[in-house]
């Protein structure tokens, strides 16, 4: 187990390292040039000053060397400044990561809390009317553009009914936990609806697969009740593939969060990355994306551990091929 964890962590570190280099190189391809921007902002600067600044910041050096220096700084804890906000990037990113985790966590739990019972229910009588209806709803959920769904929710609950705020984190001057919760309802609902269809289909497919197995028939034959067969036998085994797929979907969930956050003006990581790119604040975007990816990878590793806890057959001992 320990060995497996270490190998997974090493893998994640390699992914992050490769990614940081690619992203660092990509920043050079972004529109606008930082020195040109400085010259434009300050009429006193001449092109000759620009050359000097370029040398001062090391921008005349090859990319590998610049990246090496950036990496050394980053590993020693200096991740640089945000150009647009003029503060260290982590000062912006950490509170927003917390906001995103709240949004993701609530939506993830809500989606699973719906998908599990509904998926199991659909699998009990496959191809019956209830299953067909659930299947249609799932396809609709998967196929609806998430930003458009958010728009429809705003249209219904904020514009027409006026029950909930259309966006933002809190009502200025009225900050309280209840107010924060009111602002969370629509973003969480939008993100939940965007992922619940897929999750329900995974649960249903995994349950169907288990219900056809011999051990289920054996359990039934020896008189185990219908609910106990599902709960004690089929569901436990069905959870294993469900966890795998749901964990692999964490990246997709984060992508969904980016859309949701942007639509509702929710100050999370996704919106921060998007806004940073539009504002040419590439260091903020780069570190933000690294942090988001690290979070997602951590989630998949956690899922692997949960996997071992659920399935005693899995020991993660090294299987030499």
């Amino acid at each position: 187990m320990l060995r497996f964890l270490i190998s997974r962590l090493v893998q994640a570190a390699i992914v992050l390292a490769v990614m940081s280099f690619v992203l660092y190189a990509l920043i050079g391809l972004m529109p606008g040039d930082p020195i040109d921007l400085m010259i434009q902002a300050n009429p006193e600067l001449t092109p000759a000053d620009g050359e000097r600044l370029r040398r001062l910041y090391g921008l005349d050096q090859p990319i590998v060397e610049r990246y090496g220096r950036w990496l050394a700084d980053a590993l020693s804890g200096d991740l640089g400044y945000s150009r647009a906000h003029a503060v260290p990037v982590l000062d912006i990113l950490l509170p927003r990561l917390a906001n995103t985790l709240v949004l993701l966590g609530l939506a993830f739990v809500a989606a699973l809390a719906i998908a599990l019972p509904v998926g199991i229910f659909a699998a009990i009588r496959p191809y019956g009317p209830a299953d067909t209806a659930i299947n249609l709803a799932c396809f609709a959920g998967i196929s609806i553009p998430p930003f458009w769904l958010a728009l429809l929710l705003i249209m219904l609950f904020a514009v027409t009914l006026g029950w909930l705020p259309a966006g933002g984190m809190a009502t200025p001057g009225m900050e309280s936990l209840a107010d924060r919760a009111r602002h969370l309802v629509l973003p969480v609902l939008a993100l939940t609806l965007a992922s619940v269809g897929g999750y329900t289909r995974y649960v249903r497919a995994a349950m169907l697969e288990q219900m056809r197995q011999d051990y289920v028939r054996t359990a039934r034959a020896k008189g185990v009740g219908a609910i106990a067969v599902i709960r004690r036998h089929a569901l436990r085994n069905a959870m294993i593939p469900v966890i795998t797929i749901v964990a692999l979907d964490l990246g997709t969930l984060f992508s969904g969060a980016l859309i949701t956050e942007t639509m509702f003006g929710y100050l999370g990581m996704g919106k921060t990355i998007y806004d940073a790119i539009l504002a040419n604040d590439f260091n903020l975007a780069l570190v933000g994306l690294m942090l988001a990816t690290a979070t997602v990878l951590a989630g998949t590793i956690l899922a692997d551990i949960a996997y071992a806890a659920l399935d005693p057959r899995i020991t993660y001992r090294r299987a030499r091929a």
């Binding site: 609806i144 553009p145 458009w148 980016l258 859309i259 990355i273």
Partner: protein, 311 residues
């Protein structure tokens, strides 16, 4: 007339009628195929539709902004007085083109990687599969946003490419294909691994066929069904991605109409002209759900194992 019986017999030996029967039994898939055929026909005939309709999708008419539906403008006009119906028709061209082209590109890359991985084995296989895992786990959208923000003029592209009107469209196709290949790569690798030691492959090898010939002539045909299913299912996803990127202002660039760009100002529109925010989203929804149902139906028809699970 006389040729007909022979054709049926030939088809019968290839299990095609069974596939057709299974596909036709999936009513949602059949309906989706019809819907998609209509959408594709409208997209192909868009210029002719515009001529018959007597208008131009890019024609600005500032005296006629936010016009309600009328005989002249079937669905009314947008913020610049452009005809909404025609913009939807032309937007469909872009969405379908991007969806199909990127799905095809991803399938080609995925097939190549899957074949190499399945046949090379060893370290090459391990590295490629770790790469596949990594791409699957990544939060895709922020990556696409960064790639979509790249200044094409800074890339060593052939003269004039970066400035072309269609550059933003092909850029989306390229970056989606660049991240969309892992599903097909895994499927093809799986097929390659399972067939590698089968008798007909060994026979081909004994007859002197090289690895490239075995991969392309013997393994690839057996992987076609899963590739077709996965690719069909991916088209819907890609159309969703394109619409999100265009909506965020990083996809297809105006004045080219795509369903996503038409929703760019939708957050303001829901207060002033809700219909403008509803129609393009509805088109995306219908198209994407149709591709998903079609893929589901093809899976039933082409993948015999899936049929066993059915009843």
């Amino acid at each position: 007339m006389t040729a007909a019986p022979a054709r049926i017999e030939a088809a019968g030996t290839r299990a095609t009628p069974a596939r057709w029967r299974r596909f036709l039994a999936h009513r949602a898939a059949v309906a989706s195929a019809v819907v998609l055929a209509l959408l594709a026909a409208a997209a192909l005939a868009a210029p002719a539709i515009a001529r018959a309709y007597g208008a131009d999708p890019g024609q600005v008419d500032l005296l006629n902004r936010y016009a309600p539906p009328s005989a002249e403008h079937w669905l009314g006009t947008d913020a610049l007085g452009r005809d909404l119906f025609l913009r939807l028709v032309f937007g469909g061209r872009v969405s379908l083109l991007v969806g199909l082209a990127a799905a095809f590109g991803a399938a080609v890359i995925g097939t190549a990687i899957g074949l190499v991985s399945g046949f090379a084995g060893g370290r090459t296989d391990a590295v490629l599969m770790r790469l596949t895992d990594a791409v699957i786990a990544l939060p895709l959208l922020p990556f696409l946003i960064i790639l979509a923000a790249i200044d094409l003029a800074k890339l060593p592209l052939p003269e004039g490419w970066a400035e072309a009107d269609t550059a933003s469209l092909w850029r989306i196709v390229a970056i989606v294909a660049l991240f969309g290949w892992p599903t097909v790569a895994r499927l093809v690798r799986g097929t390659a691994l399972s067939l590698r030691e089968r008798e007909f492959v060994l026979a081909a090898r004994a007859l002197g066929a090289g690895p490239a010939r075995i991969a392309l002539a013997h393994v690839l045909p057996n992987a076609v069904s899963p590739i077709v299913v996965a690719t069909t299912l991916s088209v819907g996803n890609i159309i969703l991605l394109e619409s999100v990127l265009s909506f965020l202002g990083l996809g297809v660039q105006p004045p080219t109409a795509s369903w996503g760009t038409m929703l760019t100002n939708a957050q303001e529109l829901i207060w002033s002209a809700p219909a403008l925010a509803v129609w393009p989203g509805l088109m995306i929804f219908v198209t994407v759900i149709a591709f998903n149902f079609l893929g589901d139906g093809l899976q039933d028809a082409l993948d015999p194992r899936a049929v066993v699970t059915r009843r």
